[in-house]
């Protein structure tokens, strides 16, 4: 889960960079950048959850 979370963080960033490079007009570029940040938010949730599990196991 942790690895998937970090991969999502990277993928979201890649989406943002791709939107900058490939999309010229404002609306599609803005939409893809927002989508990239959304993917990153999902990745952050997964990474955070992956660090909750070991604590419960330790307890």
């Amino acid at each position: 889960m942790k690895l998937v979370g970090f991969l999502l963080l990277l993928s979201g960033w890649a989406l943002v960079l791709s939107a900058l490079i490939l999309l010229g007009s404002t609306l599609p570029r803005t939409s893809f950048i927002l989508a990239g940040v959304g993917v990153q938010a999902l990745g952050l949730v997964l990474v955070t959850r992956s660090h909750l599990v070991p604590r419960r196991e330790r307890d």
Partner: protein, 450 residues
């Protein structure tokens, strides 16, 4: 490799810069006092020594390696062409700062400010790893931060890198703008602190078997609150010097920068005090202090580009964010961050960076890094929020995985967490052999295993 034009710096600006840069150590002192006061008494000497050591390691490593990757605006850099646009991704300076004229400016001033800034950045994770982070591991982790993470990202923001060129290349406002280091220093340090807190895990006894957190209050609120006052002075220096050197702010803007910094900190502290008063019946000293520093952090990015009223709003939101974030991280996410470094520096730093996109109106000229000239005031403000958002995405998508990855690898070779015996004895006795307060009575419950 692409050479950029070196922007000019007037004698007045350079003199002001030197004055401001000499104030920055007070921010470092303030932060180290706050970190120490928010930790346990049995780790106080360790905390202060760790502060000194990481500042020293950061300065040396940065001068040897870091500055070569970061460079300065107008210095040589490597760029790749993607989609017909140049992406300046890393500096091409020689090691040991051999490529700069140390008797002239702005390069020498940038170097001096950066040596202090990287020290300040390295101090931030110390707060999150308090009471359990080995001294040697903290130094090794700092070497990675000062040699790799910080210089690469700072190059992108402050040395004409691709983030700074978003305005020129893609029409996103003035490009990613961060005058005082809200992203490069604060958010980067805060995200590294999050990585450290995750890798180290919570202190022993912090969470019960049911997962409920125990309160481990800071041992000296006086140190913490005095640290806040020192930090204010240092932050005025940091914001002022950064705005002049990295965004080309006119010397006439330094008063506005100081006012905005003060207002953001004040409103954030008041917000934190009011929220804790309403929720807990009494204002909480440590959360109010966290709010104050959070306001300073949030002020950094936009200090030269907002009026006082938006600065107050930025501070109020920052104080509220820090207060709720500290509780949320501790209660729901099981992140043990004794000094609140993640909330104060990462959360408030990211908020400050985004706030520039919402409130910034650029009456001041902003350095057009691709041309080495000042842009026309007020021109190209549309899309600024998108440039700021791209910067935040870079923090989450590049800085956080890199900081976590480097520290994870380090942890495999050199375990960063002190053994259980070290936590029981306290870091002072275990790692240094003597306590910070030898004449004080030791409470027996302080040594009880939680």
């Amino acid at each position: 490799m692409m050479p950029l034009p070196v922007p000019a710096l007037s004698d007045t600006s350079a003199t002001l810069c030197i004055f401001f840069i000499l104030l920055v150590p007070l921010a470092i002192a303030g932060l180290s006092l706050a970190n120490t006061g928010l930790g346990r008494s049995r780790s106080a000497a360790h905390s202060m020594l760790a502060s000194l050591c990481v500042i020293a390691v950061a300065a040396v490593v940065y001068v040897i390696f870091g500055f070569a990757w970061q460079g300065f605006m107008g210095g040589p850099a490597h760029a790749i062409v993607v989609g017909g646009k140049p992406w300046n991704w890393i500096a091409a300076e020689p090691f040991f700062t051999r490529g700069i004229d140390r008797s002239g400016w702005p390069a020498s001033l940038v170097l001096l400010l950066q040596i202090l800034s990287v020290g300040l950045t390295a101090m931030i994770p110390l707060g999150a790893g308090a009471d359990r982070w080995r001294l040697g591991a903290a130094c090794a982790s700092t070497a990675l931060l000062a040699g790799i993470t910080y210089p690469i990202f700072a190059h992108w923001v402050w040395a004409g890198g691709w983030l700074a060129q978003l305005g020129v290349n893609y029409g996103l406002g003035h490009g990613f703008v961060d005058a005082g280091g809200g992203s490069t220093i604060q958010a980067l340090g805060g995200l590294t602190a999050l990585s450290i807190a995750w890798i180290l895990g919570p202190r022993r006894g912090k969470y019960s078997a049911e997962g409920m957190p125990a309160a481990i209050p800071g041992h000296n609120p006086v140190l913490v609150l005095f640290g806040c006052v020192l930090a204010l002075v240092g932050w005025i220096g940091l914001n002022g010097a950064g705005a002049i050197l990295f965004t080309g702010a006119d010397p006439g803007f330094v008063v506005l920068i100081a006012i905005n910094t003060m207002l953001a900190a004040s409103s954030a502290a008041l917000a934190a005090a009011a929220i804790t008063r309403i929720r807990f019946g009494k204002p909480d000293a440590s959360l109010t202090a966290n709010g104050w520093v959070g306001g300073l952090v949030a002020s950094s990015a936009a200090c030269a580009f907002v009026d006082p009223i938006p600065a107050i709003i930025i501070g109020l939101v920052s104080g509220a964010l820090v207060t709720f974030s500290v509780e949320w991280l501790e209660l729901h996410l099981a992140v043990d961050d004794p000094s609140g470094a993640i909330s104060v520096h990462a959360v408030a730093g990211i908020w400050g960076v985004l706030a520039l996109g919402f409130f910034g109106h650029f009456p001041a000229p902003v350095l057009n890094v691709a041309a080495g000239q000042l842009s026309v005031p007020g021109a190209g403000d549309t899309g600024q929020w998108l440039a700021q958002l791209v910067g935040v995405a870079t923090l989450l998508g590049f800085v956080l995985p890199l900081a976590y990855g480097l520290n994870w690898v380090l942890n495999r070779f050199y375990p960063q967490r002190v053994p259980a015996e070290g936590e029981r004895q306290g870091m002072d006795l275990y790692e240094l052999g003597a306590g910070a307060y030898p004449e004080f009575l030791t409470h027996t419950d302080d040594f009880t295993q939680r």
